[in-house]
Amino acid sequence: MDALGDGTRRLILERLRGGPRAVGELAAELPVSRPAVSQHLRVLKEAGLVTERRNGTRRLYRVDTDGLAEVRDYLDSFWTDVLAAFEAAAEAEAERRTNDDARD
């Protein structure tokens, strides 16, 4: 199962990098309903990416690095995206520099 093939699930995992959160908090921050967030959390839990803990009356979700292979794969594509964005910005800056030089 490709737990991280879904954009909303990737967003949930990003949110949880900041620390444990409850379903309601996640739903408030994401453009999806609370039941949809619960559904996505269930998939992430089954994939070993997220773990659930009861804190008083609240259930908090956090990143679970026991599912290390999945988390590592996720970070692999994370860095691919990040470096692609950096490369695009560097190329744009190089072009600006060339244009500036041409004007001098």
Binding site: R10, L11, E14, R15, R17, G18, G19, P20, E29, L30, R62, V63, D64, T65, D66, L68, A69, V71, R72, L75, D76, F78, W79, T80, D81, V82, L83, A84, A85, F86, E87, A88, A89, A90, E91, E93, A94, R97
Partner: protein, 145 residues
């Protein structure tokens, strides 16, 4: 022999960009705000306003529109314009992983190499060693009492 990536192997990525080393280093760090894909890759998502490489405070963090801050990493080594090393927080409940980014000249361009390693510390075995570590510390306290 076929090599298989295992879950604890370092992640390695590289890209060559058409800027001198110093410009590339500055764009990556001081200029992170101008290119980081916040929408997909930040804790605050659409709320995220900026990311900051705070060299004096030795930390990298993002800031939301409402002023709240989320830590990404601690700066462990800072060697502009060639290299920096961070303790990157993947899971707040576990030891950090290490992220090293190096910048080297390739003619007029710069090769940027990124290595994200230390996965073994972040997984279940990492936690086990943490747990044992605390047992040892607490054991000593008990003995001392």
């Amino acid at each position: 022999m076929t090599m298989h990536a295992t879950e604890t192997d370092a992640i390695r990525k590289a890209v060559t960009v058409p800027l001198p080393v110093e410009k590339a280093f500055n764009l990556f760090t001081a200029g992170i705000d101008t290119w980081w894909p916040f929408e997909e890759h930040s804790i605050g998502g659409e709320q995220t306003e900026s990311a900051i490489f705070d060299v004096d405070a030795k930390r990298v963090y993002e800031r939301d529109a409402d002023g709240s801050e989320h830590d990404w990493a601690d700066i462990v080594a800072w060697e502009p314009p060639n290299r920096f090393l961070l303790n990157w927080r993947v899971n707040p409940a576990r030891p950090d992983t290490e992220l090293e980014v190096s910048f080297s000249a390739e003619g007029d361009a710069t090769r940027v190499e990124l290595e994200h390693r230390g996965w073994e510390k972040c997984g279940p075995e990492g936690r086990a060693s943490y747990d044992t570590g605390w047992d040892t510390v607490l054991g000593k306290l008990v003995e001392a009492a």
